[in-house]
């Protein structure tokens, strides 16, 4: 597979990097052959982002060597790395909304002649790069705010391709903000790059993408490379999970719980008059119901309607047989229903408050004194500490600011808060976005134990494996309608993906 005559595009060997109190990388190695797509996987905190920042020249390692095309990069700075032809595609869509595609592609390295910017040349070149190298036809005069997320991602990639001497492109979670159908567009672009001889380092939580795309994969765990997979095959996913977590893939999902008969939430003919209509759902006591849908399918709006964040226009909702219509999440909470939102950083947590304060946020009444509503801090502390140890939030420090926690642990804090409310119905919207596999397994365990205690759970997700592993029943939503409904045992992954992506492919994304 690797050619012996050509030196690797990138060789990082024996990298050590510590931060105060933490050893982030220990004897870490990474090697990328010319023109290959190399996968980099690992749980959050395994050292992936640290080694990328070392490569970017942002962090200076204490030990170790970085060489590109066989020649060491010294000193290691953002400028020297850039000069040697390495480019980084950041996870965030860093683009200016009112810039045109061409202006965005050439941002920071504009073509300027004596008479000013060569606008026409920039337009033509950016259109050419997008079409020939990335397979995307796009008007270079279109404004960024009018194009789809996948198109924005490719504009970001095109920016890296305006120079000729590009050797390596580092993709950091390139598909994170995209819907499943859009992912293919990005994967296609990376494949085209491989054909043109540019090597890629592809970092992703989505193991399916890794096996589909990569020639070789390096697995990181605890700050070092534990393995390099030389031959990617169908079994690679299992192998990667095993290497990343030290446990088998099957252990990811807890055993399912048999739901009771009592209907807790029943929804009939629900619609918001705009994005979805005619939704019927029932969730029974102890049941985990899955709501499958891609971005823009209407699942997000449906969840918002259930919890009172969005106005219901048609249909009825009953909780334990009683008709309800919630006007706000607070009203829903009073009615026994709580939401764990998809964007925990914005909607779920007060990032600058402590873990303990966040855990108690929804139940301040319970920790308040009857007179004057003073906060009983001892009781609040106790409750927070109990939740932190039950949910294994790491580090187990209730005074720490939530901002400093990893994604998975932040999510546990949101869940802890919801558990304290003793709600009968818990809705989780994309519960494991941006969460590593280890924390995923724990979140799944928590969901299962909620159901085992008799809570009715609704999981809205666009991750088919998650829905199949976790849920008892899956409702599939496409373009604002429930199109299919199955017991999870009757489905497999391919069947579910097919249902979720049916009839969406050829339709334009409605731009915001």
């Amino acid at each position: 597979m690797t050619s012996t005559q050509n030196p690797p595009v990138l060789r990082m060997s024996g990298i050590e990097k510590s931060f105060p109190g933490v050893r982030a990388l220990t004897d870490a190695n990474l090697e990328i052959a010319p023109g290959e797509v190399h996968g980099l996987v690992g749980e959050n905190g395994a050292g992936k982002s640290t080694i990328i920042k070392v490569l970017a020249g942002v962090y200076t390692p204490e030990l170790g060597e970085v060489s590109i095309d066989g020649a060491p990069v010294a000193p290691l700075t953002p400028q020297t790395v850039h000069q040697r032809g390495v480019r980084f595609i950041h996870q965030e869509l860093h683009l200016v909304p009112h810039f045109t595609v061409a202006e965005s592609v050439f941002m920071g390295h504009e073509l300027q002649g004596r008479l000013g910017l060569k606008k026409r040349q920039m337009r033509e070149r950016s259109a050419r790069i997008l079409e020939e190298q990335l397979g995307l036809q796009l008007d270079p005069g279109a404004l960024i705010r009018d194009i789809s997320p996948a198109q924005k991602k490719l504009v970001q990639v095109a920016r890296a391709l305006t120079d000729d001497n590009i050797r390596l492109i580092v993709f950091d979670e390139p598909t994170a903000p995209l819907a499943a159908v859009e992912v293919e567009q990005v994967l296609g672009a990376v494949r085209r790059l491989r054909e043109s001889g540019v090597a890629s380092l592809y970092v992703s939580h989505y193991l399916g993408e890794i096996t589909e795309l990569c020639d070789r994969v390096t697995v990181f765990r605890n700050g070092t490379d534990v393995a390099r997979i030389e031959q990617v095959s169908d079994d690679t996913t299992r192998e990667m999970i095993h290497l990343m977590t030290g446990r088998e893939a099957g252990e990811l999902f807890p055993p399912r719980n048999e739901p009771g008969d009592e209907e807790v939430l029943a929804v009939e003919g629900l619609g918001d008059g705009k994005t979805f209509a005619d939704v019927d759902l029932t969730i029974r006591k102890g049941q985990v119901l899955g709501l499958a849908g891609l971005l823009g399918s209407g699942t997000e709006e449906l969840v918002d309607c259930l919890i009172g964040l969005r106005k219901v226009k048609t249909g009825t909702m009953r909780v334990a047989g009683k008709p309800v219509r919630f006007s706000s999440p607070a009203a829903a909470l009073a009615g026994g229903m709580v939401l764990i939102p998809r964007d925990r950083r914005h909607d779920g947590l007060v990032l600058d408050l402590s873990v303990g304060d966040n855990i108690n946020l929804s139940t301040l009444d319970e920790t308040a004194t009857a007179f004057a509503g003073l906060n009983r801090s001892m009781l609040a502390r106790e409750r927070a500490e109990r939740m932190v140890s039950e949910l294994d939030v790491r580090p187990a420090d209730i005074a720490r600011k939530v901002r400093l926690l990893s994604g998975g642990n932040q999510q546990k804090v949101v869940i802890a808060r919801s558990l304290l409310t003793d709600a009968r119905i818990v809705i989780l919207d994309e519960p494991t976005v941006g969460v590593d596999i280890g924390a995923k397994a724990e979140i799944y365990r928590l969901i299962a134990s909620l159901a085992a205690e008799g809570t009715a759970v609704l999981v809205s997700s666009n991750d088919p494996s998650e829905l199949l592993g976790l849920c008892d029943r899956v409702e599939v939503m496409v373009r604002g309608r429930i199109v299919e409904s199955h017991r999870a045992e009757e489905l497999d992954r391919d069947r579910l993906v097919e249902a979720m992506t049916a009839s969406v492919r050829n339709d334009e994304e409605e731009a915001r």
């Binding site: 909304p97 390295h109 910017l117």
Partner: protein, 335 residues
């Protein structure tokens, strides 16, 4: 002017939502236009060549500093709270008028050294702004409000809060001169605006400044050095204050205290109403210039309609509110 056309197939918004967007986008300009039409219909003196030229001459210094402010806003972004703004430009201009007037109060004193001194004084204000915003990290509105107040205070001290008369030959020539029927001060303003337009809309420097203003993260990740660019916008703004000061001294035949107050209102209004002239609805150099012309026509129109001076300020204040509130609502709409 930004002449980018919207892409084919860009979403068109029907019904109420479209109306709301239209009102937010073009509303302030419409109010402006209606006001001007009303003023013109109400007083015969408005639509005369005399008023036309006097408005244009008055617009010249406003246009220069409004374009200076446009540069700062383009680099700092148009966020209502943390966006770029330089309130100190009129203060720096007032200080520069005093420096110029003191130097030129003797006939025969050389012009260029006096201008250079005024420019240095203004640039000093710019440097302080640049340090406070770019390196200390203060919000532009707070930092430049503080420098504005300080500069005006200092200026009062060394002008003893008195009028200084200037009858220097260069200033008189500038005041009375015409080229092809166009007043020299207007030509000078046009030259400055064209220069700024080229720098901001036709060079990579300008493109980068706009990138920083559009999204600081995007600019950083594109390898643009944000701080230096941000700092430079305040220096450009300060330079426009010094150039405007020359026109102000010419117009007033010297410096008079309190000149900064009216300038502040007119400048802010001109720059932000100017956004409505751009296809992408963002602050631009040509937009700021057109804004200055509009504001000047409105000021003169109000006066010709015998609206008391204190009311004129009230009207302008309300228009500023209207313009910035519409812009803020539009930003929110987009998110």
């Amino acid at each position: 002017m930004n002449t980018s056309t919207r892409p084919v197939g860009a979403p068109t918004r029907p019904g109420l939502l479209g109306l709301k967007r239209f009102v937010l986008r073009r509303g302030p300009l419409l109010v402006f236009a209606l006001l001007l039409i009303y003023l013109a219909a109400n007083s015969a003196a408005v639509l005369t060549a005399n008023n036309f030229w006097s408005s244009i001459v008055q617009a010249a210094p406003i246009a220069i500093i409004a374009c200076g402010l446009a540069v700062v806003v383009m680099g700092g972004g148009d966020d209502a709270i943390s966006g770029g703004i330089d309130l100190s430009i009129p203060g720096a201009a007032a200080m520069a008028t005093v420096v110029l007037s003191l130097q030129l109060s003797e006939p025969g004193a050389p012009f260029w050294p006096a201008f250079l001194l005024a420019l240095l004084a203004a640039l000093l204000v710019g440097v302080v702004n640049a340090l406070l915003v770019g390196y200390v990290g203060l919000s532009p509105i707070l930092a430049t409000l503080a420098t504005y107040v300080s500069v005006v205070g200092i200026t009062r001290v060394f002008s003893q809060n008195r009028r200084i008369n200037v009858s220097h030959e260069t200033i008189v020539a500038l005041r009375d001169g015409k080229l092809l029927g166009v007043p020299t001060t207007v030509l000078l303003a046009v030259v400055v605006v064209v220069l700024l337009w080229f720098v901001m809309h036709r060079t990579s420097y300008g493109a980068r400044v706009q990138a920083v203003g559009g999204s600081r993260d995007a600019a950083t990740s594109a390898g643009i050095r944000v701080r230096g660019l941000l700092a430079s916008t305040y220096l450009i703004a300060a330079s426009t204050a010094a150039i405007a000061a020359v026109l102000l001294v010419a117009r007033g035949s010297g410096s008079s205290p309190g000149i900064d107050e009216r300038l502040l209102v007119d400048m802010v209004l001109a720059t932000f109403i100017g956004a409505a002239f751009s296809a992408r609805n963002v602050v631009t150099v040509p937009g700021a210039m057109l804004g200055a012309v509009l504001v000047s026509f409105m000021s003169n129109g109000l006066i010709l309609n015998r609206v008391p001076n204190s009311w004129v300020d009230g009207v302008k204040g309300m228009l500023i509110l209207l313009v910035v509130a519409a812009a803020a609502l539009q930003n929110r709409e987009r998110k």
